[in-house]
Symmetry: C3
Subunit: 340 residues, 3 copies
């Protein structure tokens, strides 16, 4: 049966560690060794939402292993798509995902999909219908380039932390909510939570109110992983306590799930917590005042973190972004490489 990469939830810690080791090797030898693992192979990158690093790192990663990436943007350069089964398609959609996935499976060796939530009803969005439909109908591996989790970002974060911390077990990582003018996807927060727990961190989820706690699917998974590692997952609304003695502060903004589709009601809460910004004072509370900081990109400067934090030697932002390239190459090799 085709192995997809839809979420890290069903990839074991040992499998993740193997990917990270392979990514390290690919990174170390990148300029010295020309690779051919994907020679003659093609990958479809299907973007329903914008991208800069994801597109660049996948295109370049595929190229560096001898393959070719095709970028498709349904609804822009390509046709709008229907996901539901059995529908009379007399609306906007010109074709069904079944045809799209089955045909791309004939052309390509892997289909990577970016499909953000619609932000109307979390009950719907949490089904992850678009990528699940691709996975249902595709006959080649389907890879998640961010939907309601962002597993490639997880691998990049994990590799970066491994590089800087060595062992991650028993260290303290804080996932902190930060302000953003718009309610954002919980994907990266979900992902940071579960990968940190899987990697053996003691994880603190810092957020303004209980309403900002993440979906139970990810909270529960994180707690399960933590338990397997003999660690814990803690929710906190106390900024200073959360930062205290942390090895790592990982920042991200997201919209509160209970307000899905009623964002006007959530706005005053978000607006009242602009002080959650990651700044020098808070970072001074971390372990020996020397904790690491990271954030996926894009990131609004001086809204989510101050310039000084972003540019400090403790900032992993650029390394984490670079590591997208290496972990994705390892992942592609694992899924469709000749040596798999």
């Amino acid at each position: 049966m085709t192995r997809h990469f839809l979420s890290t939830l069903d990839w074991s810690r040992a499998e993740i560690e193997a990917l990270l080791a392979d990514a390290s090797e690919l990174k170390a030898t990148r300029r010295a060794v020309r690779r051919n693992d994907l020679a003659g192979k093609s990958v479809a990158l299907v973007f329903f939402n914008p991208s800069l690093r994801t597109r660049s790192s996948f295109e370049i990663g595929v190229f560096e292993m001898g393959g070719h990436a095709v970028v498709l943007e349904p609804g822009k350069g390509a046709w709008p798509i229907e996901y539901r089964d059995g529908v009379v398609m007399d609306g906007e959609a010109e074709e069904h995902v079944e045809e799209v996935a089955r045909v791309l499976s004939r052309y390509c060796d892997l289909i990577a999909v970016r499909a953000f939530p619609k932000f109307q009803r979390w009950e719907d969005d949490r089904e992850d219908a678009v990528i699940q439909a691709f996975a249902k109908y595709a006959t080649v591996p389907v890879l998640n380039m961010e939907t309601i989790t962002h597993p490639c970002q997880e691998l990049a974060l994990a590799l970066t932390l491994r590089e800087r911390l060595g062992t991650t077990d028993g260290k303290k990582l804080v996932v902190t909510w930060t302000y953003h003018p718009r309610p954002l996807n919980t994907a990266v927060a979900n992902s940071a939570l579960i990968i940190a727990a899987k990697m053996g961190f003691d994880v603190t989820l810092l957020c303004p109110t209980p309403e900002y706690v993440l979906d139970a699917r990810y909270m529960d998974a994180a707690r399960t992983f933590a338990k397997e590692n003999g660690r814990s997952v803690t929710v906190s609304h106390d900024v200073d306590a959360a930062y205290r003695d942390a090895h790592v502060v990982y920042a991200k903004s997201w919209g509160a799930l209970p307000y899905f589709g009623r964002w006007d009601e959530e706005k005053p809460i978000r607006d009242a917590h602009k002080h959650f910004i990651v700044d020098e004072r808070k970072m001074a509370l971390t372990l020996e005042g020397n904790g690491l900081f990271s954030h996926c990109l894009p990131m609004r400067r001086n809204v989510k973190a101050t310039d000084a934090v972003v540019r400090s030697p403790s900032s992993l932002v650029i390394d984490e972004a670079e590591n997208r390239l290496h972990v994705q190459k390892a992942l592609l090799r694992r899924l469709i490489g000749d040596a798999k």
Copy 2:
């Protein structure tokens, strides 16, 4: 003189058969043999309209033979273009097709163009002005990726039918109109008609009223081809009679030519013929209840054909889409391959 691929009208049956044979060979050896026919060569894919399969299959096909495809979208990522000769260009267009075609001819080895009709005046659209202008000024081959015909789809259909039927001569193929909420291009219908006639089928064109008969250029060509093969082209408005004993049902929606630019007047006629949908009852009328079904993609499910028909073992939809890749590779090899 440069050989273009603007339409199959001026490609003989023998030439088409040779392309199909080559495509079969490329398909059979795709994963086993790395090809180099287009090594160092570039192809421009100029899209005035959206695309998913066309773009993917061309990009991948070119890559699989060692070349590179550049995707250009004039009016989106590129400048709007003027096609008429001698015009004072003080409107929207920033450049003339003469410059576009001549410059791309210096950069690339082939120019492929998708340019749908404007749906205002059929007298204008039937001139196929955009691709004809490219062909006039280009000094490299110009290839039609769908304008008022869709010759690459024709080749894909022909290969698929050859694979499933073996000999096609004397078998019955029905091109059936189906409902679609908008009036669509006649391109694929024109193409299905002429390639089926060229391949020796007895062809029935099934449509709601005489107003849905296709342009005389294609009706006449189909009749000529049929005559050369000792076969016939029949127009029918009787659904059951048309389906009866058919080997192949090919579905497509299109707008009636006499209503061009007055689509509001055509709408009631279209709306009154939603029952032209391809369904199990109708397919049961085909030869031994076992006729093949196909449709180019995109295709609206349960509008043009029911889920059951699309998913049945007699459905060629996915195979036909896959075969785009193989026939286009054969075509590129024929037009610009080193071994031509």
Copy 3:
């Protein structure tokens, strides 16, 4: 320190001549020699504005030397970007150019940028803030694909003139303003002026009124280059005198700098000078009635130059566009080629 290609102002004539010689060699051997100078290397093409030739010629040039070009369109397929330092990013921009440039520097070997002026305040636009910000933060070479100058077009023009004229020293080149319905960028005019002066031409800048004279930065640079070559730069508003005995007429439209942001006031002046169009009568005034004509593309026919001029044997338009490919390949080889 990383060598960028932001403008030809800081590239010596000897360096330019070396690039042209290399471009000639690449052009002559293009079809005979497969190159590998960029094997395994990637280039980011960042387009804030549309492009046809620039995109095609860079993509193909990179491919022909074994590399891969990634096309990014911030604000379309990618995130909007902030350029100013120290800003609280609570507006439209989702990320800062520092992160973009630093991350792309990890993925790619070179970043090429197209960023047109905003046409509100020339004092702002003349700072060339976007590409300067990329150059400030990138750790790989940054290359100008047109901002407020168009140095790749300069190299293409220079190569084309070298091909047709041999030595360029002491010959007369007229940069003539022409009408266009909209006020355009001065980039190509600035570029034509400075490269012509650098190549040893006597340069005449022909424009409707003193208000159309170019920015002092480029006027002064051109005068300095001309002086180094023992030549002159002349401003003229007399069409016939400017054309008389010219070896080369280079046409371009641009908006008058004093009217920046108040384009309604400039419009009547532009509209009153439609007769600046390059036509047969004016070209007959050139040296032996045989002067060369060129214009970068896109170009509006019968607005900037008549069909007869554009299509005449003296027209360099297509050659200049072709030469973009060759000079850019030479430039990429110089900046990031293995043999540099």
